[in-house]
Amino acid sequence: MLSRVADSIYWMCRYIERAENIARFIDVNLHLLLDVPIAEAHQWAPLVSVTGDDADFKARYDAPTQVNVVKFLTFDRQNPNSIYSSLWSARENARSVREVISSEMWEQINRSYLMLRDADATDRVAQDPAGFLSHFKKSCHLFAGTMEATMTHGEAWHFGRMGKLIERAEKTSRILDVKYFMLLPRVDYVGSPYDGLQWTALLRSASAFEMYRKKHRTITPEDVAAFLILDCDFPRSMHYCVIKANESLHEITGTPMGEFTNRAEQRLGRLVGELDYSEISEIIAGGLHQYLDSFQARLNDIGAAIHESFFGFGSPVPAP
């Protein structure tokens, strides 16, 4: 397939995944606020950190209040990672590959965008943020389901899935990074109902609460971290995401698993291998924050390698 098209499908899926994650983060925070008496600023500032845009936020907003943060993360068109900007980019990418994706996928992405645009115009979000966010999340899930069911699971689909999973792994690592240290037992909270609520909220941020419960009875910081990093079956855990992204990468190239023919395969395969043989106690002993930070840096590196191996249309071509 065309390099440009592969590039667009990869980013279309990344942006949809990004928008859905941000919507979920905001939604969970709104709910948590109803249960936990915690200073507003402490509750909302971390959400800006999750998207990695602290500097941009500080430059254009005063305090990290609910109103400001929600605005920054939903409809702020100057914030390239807001829900609006992400979906706009997803749709522009989709438009440029409309002939490759199914009509149903295009129609769904377009409906999501129009819903977002209309919500922005009518101030519906200020009235009922939770209602809006849950509606929006559903529209993203509908896109994922439509893509699964209406598009041939060939090369283009695998590029899309790879983009989605790399974005998801990155977002899970960020939410864990930001929340984990905030939530480590504090003297005044230990054993109080608030403690449990906060950990529950972190799991809910990754849509992981119910699935976690099936695996672990009690909520401990170590088990939560293990679930979100190392679980092989939960579809938002970092380990699961890189395993499946690696599968897609090998489907694209046809290289047998366990071997590599380009830098993307080498780097991604190595990351999967490390996670395969990791234990949570080692990770925490070595410093969770450092671990997650390095994980994100490696995902960036893998993203660059994918670009270089498949999308680089500036590559030299023999003279005519």
């Binding site: 397939m1 438009r95 377009n110 129009l114 090369e155 999308f311 249309f313 005519p320």
Partner: protein
């Protein structure tokens, strides 16, 4: 909603005759519409518009980079073409395309028609789209104009004229296909009972046309659609056609000339391209051959084309035949090449380069339509009766300064079709653009794009100037969907 009180006075109405009765092909439809409960038609119209919006069949509003997008206005009541009209149009367009293609081929080879004094040499060579680079070129099968969209109009006396031959990159066919989808959902029973000829096979026929001219035969041939990119106003159509044909949609940056072939950059390296359905102008195809100052295009593409290693549809240089001055000579071409009289007449045309015509035009600017020879989309045009004195004077000066570049025609009182105007029906002026494919044979799409001037009284149907579209139903006299004329003579 009822049609009593619907006013057809002074114009030819395509659905209702002069005495207020539905024309034969429209009877079922009018019956159905009149039988709908109040408000139902308006609801169907809204549902159709919402569907267009959700399908993203929109164009961006100029100057608003994020946000404002509009659907191209669409009116639910179809335009119906009666069988005897269609038979004439079908035969007339096949004849016209055959002659025009022979003309283009002649212009770039022996120029017999020029040497015989039928068309003046300087008119041909001064046509804006004449390409000297194409002299001596012989495209596969001798076919130059693979895809044409001819604009037809009907005057108040019922005569159907050819208004323009669009032989470069005519657009709009995707609207025909989408409008049909919507109408089938809106009036399923009437549609079936009326025996409307299908348009759905257009993408298949277009692909067959492309394969027909490919240097590589059969299934192995790789055809692509070449688009200027997603900012282009017709991008939706480019993408739609590529999708319907199941071929790649490429931009110039995806293509490169390597080892004497045109190739596209893929995730697995370079892959050869055999046929390019290009939706960009000649000027932007190849900076080495056409415009050195252009950053667009694929350097070296024209050399590959000359060597017969890639086919282009339409061929470069085809535009020489849709110059509005050359247009006036088409009836003569038909006689010259085919020895026949034109089945579909031209609108009478005054050529300002001829002194007598020029004087006549300048004296009657308030009664004529003046057009620049190389403009399209309703630009570079003066509608005399609706213009101000100052506008007429500006045009008079332009005509005197550059007579070769202007023609004038009498105002054609375009025929009308009803549209919904609030709680009643009103007639609005329409034209018709059937699409013609020239491959193994000449295929005329049954129907085409009906453009409608939605503003009351307006004669300008262009989308840039308040025009919308309607579905076009060519009804079968037999009342069943026998494809008798779509295959006639093939």
């Amino acid at each position: 909603m009822k049609f009593n009180g619907y006013d057809t006075k002074g114009y030819y109405d395509e659905l209702i005759d002069g005495s207020g009765r539905p024309r034969p092909g429209a009877m079922l439809l009018i019956d159905r519409i009149e039988g709908l409960p109040p408000g139902d038609l308006a609801r169907r119209q809204q549902a159709a518009e919402a569907a267009l919006m959700n399908m993203g069949i929109t164009f961006a509003v100029y100057g608003d980079e994020r946000g404002a997008e509009k659907i191209w206005p669409f009116d639910l009541i179809p335009r119906i073409v009666e069988p005897e009209d269609w038979r004439r149009i079908h035969a007339g367009l096949r004849q016209r395309i055959r002659a025009l293609n022979l003309f283009i081929d002649d212009v770039y080879h022996d120029q017999k028609i020029v040497n015989d004094g039928v068309v003046p040499r300087d008119l041909v060579e001064s046509a804006g789209a004449f390409r000297r680079q194409c002299m001596g070129l012989s495209p596969p099968g001798g076919i130059w104009c693979h895809v044409t969209g001819t604009d037809l109009v009907r005057d108040d006396d019922g005569t159907i004229y050819v208004l323009e031959d669009n032989m470069r990159c005519p657009s709009g066919v995707s609207y025909v296909l989408e409008n049909r989808q919507l109408l089938k959902r809106t009036f399923p029973r009437v549609f079936e009972a009326s025996g409307v000829l299908p348009v759905v096979d257009y993408p298949d026929r277009l692909l067959a046309t492309l394969h027909h001219v490919s240097p590589v035969r059969g299934e192995a041939a790789t055809a692509v659609v070449l688009t200027p990119g997603s900012f282009n106003s017709a991008y939706y159509e480019h993408s739609y056609l590529a999708q319907q044909m199941g071929i790649e949609l490429v931009e110039a940056r995806d293509l490169v000339v390597s080892d004497g072939y045109v190739k596209m950059r893929t995730t697995k390296g370079l892959a050869r391209v055999d046929v390019i359905y290009r939706r960009i102008d000649d000027d932007f195809l190849d900076p080495l051959a056409f415009r050195a100052d252009s950053m667009l295009g694929v350097p070296g593409l024209f050399e590959v084309y000359r060597a017969g290693r890639v086919a282009l549809a339409n061929a470069p240089g085809t535009g020489v035949a849709d110059d509005k001055v050359i247009y006036a000579y088409v009836p003569k071409m038909i006689r010259y090449y085919l020895g026949e009289d034109a089945i579909l007449p031209n609108v009478p045309t005054y050529l300002c380069w001829q002194e007598a015509d020029r004087q006549h035009v300048l004296d009657r600017l308030d009664k004529l339509v003046v057009k620049a020879a190389n403009e399209s989309g309703g630009y570079g045009m003066l509608v005399g009766p609706h213009a101000t004195q100052a506008e007429r004077e500006t045009f008079a000066a332009k005509i005197i300064a550059s007579p070769r570049n202007y023609i004038a025609q009498p105002v054609v009182n375009l025929s009308r079709v009803p549209i919904m105007a609030g709680d009643h029906f009103e007639g609005r002026h329409v034209d018709l653009r059937p699409y013609i494919l020239f491959g193994e044979d000449i295929f005329v799409m049954p129907g085409g794009l009906t453009r409608v001037a939605l503003r009351k009284g307006s004669l300008v149907v262009n989308s840039s100037q308040g025009g919308g579209s309607k579905d076009t139903w060519v009804v079968d006299a037999a009342g069943a969907s026998s494809p008798s004329w779509s295959v006639q003579g093939m």
